[in-house]
Assembly symmetry: C2
Homo-oligomer: 442 residues x 2
């Protein structure tokens, strides 16, 4: 079994809203798991051990993106400064009429390259042509929870589409891929469709990844049209009986939170999208107080416009302070616990990811705090939340394998990816309103 | 006269809330001024011209930071998750009891290194021991508007301190340094002190840089104690008859805005500090609608915790959308106009900075949009606001001189700076409450 030794790093560990840094420790890895974390030894490593010198670097768990539409990066910058209805109906859904399976393959690689460079080793992705997304993940060496997005208008074929992908690709890429069924949202899926997806998820023993209560407006519209909130709709359809990733939840009510707390769901939190599209603020504090896990997310790179989880981390903490009117809200330790342990929980792997300790999977990033913007490093944890940039991530290990070393990508060819995406730019940027793939009318 | 040719760049120009990109243009520079911007020519440059190849790079005006306390970077991370009163009284002011002139010299260099690396070529800095800050600016090759901060408790000596520095250093560093008188804030300066500073500013023909109406709470406290808002206090003291940089203004009233619009003041806007310290949101739209120029700012790196103006730009646009509840608010063109032309106006150099056109000073940054997080570059202007990172800045020219080339700093020695700051870290991090330099009690 392959052995890796990360030598002399300052190791970040988070637990129950507190974090600590173990100065100058060694991380021992065998195969794809961490076997030991111990004070650094000066003795030479055994000859069969690959050593990664990490003195002066901060070792953190690989970042987890709990909700994205990664391949949408190919449309980045094409839908700016518009309201959410226009964003869907005049931009995204007409643009996505252009989408081919190969666009997804190269768009996914582009986004994976961006995420690896930013220390993100795992992503819960919700999009189309996910067989091609899985091929990109296999190539990149990262971890992903993939769901093939479907709409109620697709009927039984849609249910079969998302279920058969989930069945076929569960455990793919040497186990680095998990799968989730992925109905789009309560406002694009009727009750019968949602119940059918929930039944398939139960049959397969899998979870469901869905947009829910994205704005207060959606909740009001749902109450008016269906007499229940979006969360109520999902609960009635049996969706929430499955492990569920609920994306956004800016529009959940107090009663929704009480209900959610009794069910196996987690919330994917993408604060940059909420600011940029003026969707309101998600009740992060209230949901966490009720015991609902919250994970960091980017959302798609057309609303974000990046896949940068360090930026999501910072915005989450700052918006929480702003909304509460109290700068003591969501302190550094809580923010980093969300970014690590709690994101792993939302991602469905609480005992395997988000922590650098024996028994956990070896998804590790090494961060260089030597840049002027991080100096002096009085408090590396505070730096990580408020000063560090994605570009400070130097080396990335996923599943026990080095996939970026000293900022050089080892699994993906960015120049090739840019060339292939570049060939399609003109075609991709033509909006085809008459062929829009859905209509936003919550 | 030294000649520089930036060849084949995509040149960003902003005007009246719109921006355009001139594809593949040459920027001609003689001495410290831009002499021409024209479609790129393939002909070889004359032998006395230094050529900077910039094909595929975005050329933008050097970024301007209209309000900071740059040397505070030496305290970065030492005051997290505390309310504003505690931030001042238990952290910053007891910490600043440790401050020496040499700390300012090395802290200023640290911050200038950070800013150059992030494309910031000009800063309006408001701090202590500013003779040493000026020496650092001279060495760095950047531009600065410096003010020596003084408190009312210093009496006539304080007035003389800020005035004599402003008089002595106006035009220093080959004209790259302008000076401003710098009383701290209405809540730390009484009416007599403010009037004395205003009189000195008038005598010297210089402007005033001051904190004002930082929060709604300060405005309420001022009304209770002095019967006037902080803006009213400054107007009555004659401060606002001078060109003025007003930092923050989250707590200005509608009447304040009307008054400010008739006076030669600009507002420095530092949105990251407002979020992080829960200070509220500044009325950027209302101030601009009244004709008051708004410039981007970082504030000090203990509240920010960086000096990253691209981050301020992004936060300004996103918070404006969030607060207005409308994503059409402050679109890309307006945000970039604030970042360029309007920041130059607040900085006091509207006809010299913030625009890449003949006659303007040659402060130019070259940005590489080739990273995965900026690709494909459907809309480079949107990228600049929402996707670009400080680390994408490749080359920086200030006053016609290259001060960073391909990310290598040419004027400052970061390793030396880190070593010198590092020597003082233990001494600097000891809080001395009994020696706090002021008491926050607005």
């Amino acid at each position: 079994m392959k052995k890796l030794l990360i030598q002399g790093a300052d190791v970040l560990q988070c637990e129950s809203d507190r974090c600590r840094i173990l100065r100058c420790h060694d991380l021992h890895i065998e195969g794809n798991r961490i076997t030991a974390v111990a004070p650094s030894e000066s003795a030479a490593a055994a000859p069969d051990v690959e050593v990664i010198p990490a003195r002066g670097l901060l070792a953190a768990p690989g970042l987890i993106n709990t909700h994205a539409h990664v391949p949408m990066g190919i449309f980045r910058g094409l839908a700016e400064d518009v309201d959410i209805e226009t964003w869907f109906n005049e931009y995204m859904w007409p643009l996505e009429a252009n989408l081919t399976a190969e666009d997804v393959y190269w768009g996914m690689q582009l986004g994976l390259a961006e995420m690896i460079s930013a220390g993100v080793t795992a992503v819960a992705d919700h999009y189309f042509h996910m067989d091609r997304a899985a091929a990109a993940v296999d190539r990149a060496g990262t971890r992903a929870a993939l769901g093939w997005a479907v709409f109620g208008s697709q009927g039984a074929l849609g249910v079969a589409r998302t279920a058969s992908f989930a069945e076929d690709y569960c455990g793919a890429a040497d186990g680095r891929i998990t799968t989730w069924l992925a109905p789009h949202a309560p406002y694009t899926c009727d009750d019968v469709f949602l119940a059918a997806v929930a039944a398939e998820a139960e049959r397969l023993g899998l979870g469901i990844h869905i947009h829910a209560a994205e704005t207060a407006g959606q909740t009001e519209a749902s109450l008016a049209a269906r007499g229940r909130t979006p969360i109520g709709v999902l609960a009635d359809a049996g969706v929430l009986d499955r492990p569920t990733i609920l994306a956004h939840c800016c529009g959940v009510t107090a009663a929704d939170i009480e209900l959610m707390a009794s069910l196996p769901c987690g919330v994917a939190h993408a604060p940059k999208t909420y600011l940029k599209l003026a969707m309101g603020a998600a009740p992060v504090l209230e949901m966490r107080a009720a015991g609902i896990p919250v994970g960091l997310a980017s959302d798609g790179p057309v609303s974000n416009n990046t896949l940068d989880i360090l930026e999501s981390l910072r915005l989450m903490a700052m918006v929480a302070k702003h909304e509460a009117g109290d700068p003591r809200t969501l302190p550094v330790g809580a923010a980093l616990t969300i970014a690590t342990r709690e994101s792993a929980q939302v991602f469905g792997m609480p005992d395997d990811l988000g922590h650098l300790a024996p028994g956990f999977l070896a998804d590790v990033i090494l961060i260089d705090l030597g840049g002027a913007h991080n100096q002096p490093a009085h408090d590396p944890a505070a730096n990580l939340v408020y000063s560090t940039r994605a570009s400070d991530v130097r080396t990335v290990i996923c599943d026990g394998r080095v996939i970026m070393r000293d900022r050089r990508l080892l699994t993906l060819d960015l120049e090739e990816i840019k060339a292939r995406v570049g060939e399609s730019v003109t075609r991709l940027s033509q909006r085809v309103p008459e062929a829009r793939i859905q209509l936003y009318r919550p």
